[in-house]
Symmetry: C2
Subunit: 131 residues, 2 copies
């Protein structure tokens, strides 16, 4: 198995993600990390985010037709998301308010790494500007 190195790029990306109050995409993260490491490349940001997601440190949120958003898993405090179909805004929902999903009939041998519950719809802001 591969050894994982603790580079400043990885630290910086994680730091930005941990401090983010939103659910940023790779480009935004790149811009923020640049303030600490001006020469970091977007490619490295993607590679780092990929690794962090595979390690389960962060999670990804894919919205149709929009850039993938990334979400730091704060101290195992699980939460789900409400995704606006109009503007792509993402709202956090405390998982504690939702009953834990029961074990369903998954394919035999399927190893679950992540359960995600998403409410898709229209946020108030987008609903009001509709005609």
């Amino acid at each position: 198995m591969p050894m994982v190195r603790n580079t400043k790029q990885r630290q910086a990306v994680l730091e930005v993600l941990r401090g983010a109050r939103t659910h940023p995409d790779a480009a935004w993260i790149h811009g923020e990390v640049r303030r600490a490491l001006p020469n970091i490349s977007l490619g490295t940001v993607y590679r780092t985010l990929d690794a962090l997601a595979r390690d389960g440190v962060i999670m990804t949120i894919e919205s149709a037709g929009q850039a993938t958003r990334y979400d730091y898993k704060h101290d195992g405090h699980a939460h789900h998301h409400a995704v606006c179909r109009g503007c792509g805004a993402i709202f956090d929902i405390d998982a504690a308010l939702i009953a834990p999903p029961p074990a369903p009939s998954l394919p035999v041998g399927f190893q679950v790494m992540d359960v995600r519950l998403e409410y898709h719809g229209i946020c108030p802001a987008c609903a009001s500007q509709k005609h």
Copy 2:
């Protein structure tokens, strides 16, 4: 409000989607629809899928780094998905086996159009070829 036309392109795309036993992407759908309408363009397929998704007739499944998959909502027979992180394969899960999600603390005024529950992980095939 915009009028929706019942073109043969739209009919054909819907027909293919209804008969699909898998969760195809736009390119596959395009190939299939071509058998009925050889001149239909990929752009039209995308525009049609977009409209159908907005109407709630079909749903989209976004996997990280892979093409968006489309899923016809058969007669309101709701189901959820298990998505393989390795190969992108999607397995259906009967929603009847899962407790109905309780009303959570959504943003005030948020109109829910779709609730999706996804189990992300590794399918048996991908797990066996790992070392």
